[in-house]
Symmetry: none
Subunit: 318 residues, 2 copies
DNA sequence: GGAAGACCAAGGATTTTCCTATAGATGGGC
DNA sequence: GCCCATCTATAGGAAAATCCTTGGTCTTCC
């Protein structure tokens, strides 16, 4: 693993290459803005570490030995690779290349990801994007683990090893039904317990804040809450609601377009249930430029969404 | 040409790579036999020159950023190249070991191989020498096949997969006879067709340039060329010529010493027939240092022969 | 709550790199 | 034949980089 033999320096290789090309140490030294003896010495040092004579020095001419001839292309290649790395870092920095690794909750694509990814690709077509849509705690784990650089998660979140930004987006859980009379006014827990509920897995998993919140309310009201159907995705729950199978609870921004398309009605809960979302990164937040930019764009888009009139504060039942 | 941006150090890249692999600075520092703060500082310096964060440092874990992931393979490659160069230099300088594998035409030992091998053995007594004397196309095949690293062949040669140097030696076909009156003046095709010819196999095989050339000349002169004797080696043909069996055609340098020893006479052909010889190696010339050195010596000896006064431009009939 | 592991910070020592000045060597010009 | 221009090599000292040690903070694990 650890090689013990002393390696030549990149600088020495550079001196070597330009000296070989210019066929004089003095000119090569000038190219590198150093004094001739310095370059001369570095070449000598290189020959010492390689234990091979690279040049035959005559006072008039500088000639590569066979060994030098053999080693020259290797030196050039090594330099080219280091330069390539520096170039790559520049491109990564300038977002010509690089990788975004980002985690979101699964329904983010419904109102954020498509626009975000599209905009990002247009601005930075050379950057690879790796977005995984999981649930918040899995995203947090992945970020902790180092598999993702950042993510957008629903609060509250276990913040060990993480930096959690302030809430960058607030959504609201709304009640959705095909029957207009079910949404005439805000729905309280008592009403809710009487309605046939279709919930998605993510909304009803043990650690989902909505579930926790609703069960608490039901408990203090002395009743239980039993969904008649549980499915995997919020969108699926909405479809079933549109077919009249039952009513559902969804995040407003998740359901917004589908509600309008499918002739559904909605009403806020009473008291309202809000969902707060925030960015997470690893502690000491060394985030690569691509992911940082991705987050910047995401934040902007979310802010725009937040500002739009479509916020659920004025429940229009149509 | 001279790039101005500061380049990372090979050492920094090494630290980077092992830190990325071991996922801890302390362990990486231990591998490189330096203190942890030193390595830490070098990584920081690397990040400064690349202007990119490579790691996310948490108290417990060290995690590559996306940028680090992107740059890691480039760093590994650059290091590998420098190591490859050091390795190469080691092989180059250890001419005390290794093997020469070299192919020549069969008559090369008459004026080249003995001197060459003797000189090489004196300079590099530990190197094994494997020289096979075949004809040019077989040598070319062997080099292509990988059985030989390099060879000396007569041009023209099929150069597929091969690197063919420029002509390194020029010989000339001369007419040899025991009868002085046969060599009073340059021999043309008409005269040749009337003489009793002893030819060696290699000189009369189907793809031999001499045969091709002579048959063309005979054809355009409206005559045929029929050797009275065909034997395997040029030396054998010369012996027969010395016994007066007939006359022969040999390469000047092949016959030079024998002609003098055996009281033979010679004359150039009219017009002259020259033979060009060149080195061949495999494309992408991965030639071992030993063979390279062998070729270098060979080239020097051939150049010396070429320069010598013994060239056949002044046909002295003894 | 304390011990252990991991990283960072700071100041000093060591090694490397570079500079100036000078000497030796070689080929061309007069 | 001698001098000059042009190289490279050598020497000693300055500047910079690299590294070490000590001490500190943070987090995790017991």
């Amino acid at each position: 693993m650890g090689r013990c033999m002393p390696l030549p320096t990149i600088r020495q290789l550079e001196y070597f290459v330009t000296a070989a090309r210019l066929r004089t140490f003095a000119a090569a030294a000038e190219v590198h803005h150093i004094a001739q003896p310095s370059l001369s010495e570095q070449i000598a040092a290189l020959e010492r570490t390689l234990e091979v004579a690279l040049f035959t020095r005559t006072a008039r001419k500088l000639i590569l030995t066979d060994a030098g001839q053999d080693l020259l292309p290797l030196a050039e290649r090594a330099i080219a690779d280091v330069v390539a790395m520096a170039e790559m870092s520049r491109r990564v920095r300038s977002l010509e290349e690089g990788t975004v690794s980002f985690g979101t909750f699964s329904s983010a694509h419904l109102y954020l990801l498509s626009e975000l990814i599209e905009e990002f690709r247009i601005k930075h077509p050379g950057v690879r994007i790796r977005v995984t849509g999981l649930n918040s705690s899995e995203v947090a784990d992945a970020v902790r683990e180092g598999n993702l650089e950042a993510g957008l998660v629903q609060l509250p979140i276990d913040s060990r090893e993480l930096v959690v930004t302030q809430s960058v987006f607030v959504d609201q859980v709304v009640y959705v039904s095909r029957r207009a009379e079910h949404t005439r006014e805000p729905v309280d827990i008592t009403t809710l317990a009487q309605r046939p509920l279709i919930l998605s897995e993510s909304r009803w998993s043990h650690d989902d804040p909505l579930r926790v919140s609703l069960l608490e309310r039901a408990q203090s009201a002395g009743m239980t809450l039993d969904p008649i159907v549980e499915v995997e995705f919020q969108t699926h729950a909405l479809e079933l609601a549109a077919r009249g199978v039952g009513d559902s609870l969804v995040s407003f921004h998740v359901g917004r377009s589908l509600i309008a398309e499918q002739g559904l009605f909605w009403a806020p809960l009473e008291p309202p249930v809000t969902e707060h979302y925030a960015f997470i990164t690893r502690r000491a937040g060394a985030v690569s430029p691509a992911t940082a930019e991705f987050m910047r764009l995401a934040r902007r888009i979310l802010a725009r969404l937040q500002m739009a009139r479509t916020r659920p504060t004025s429940p229009a039942s149509d």
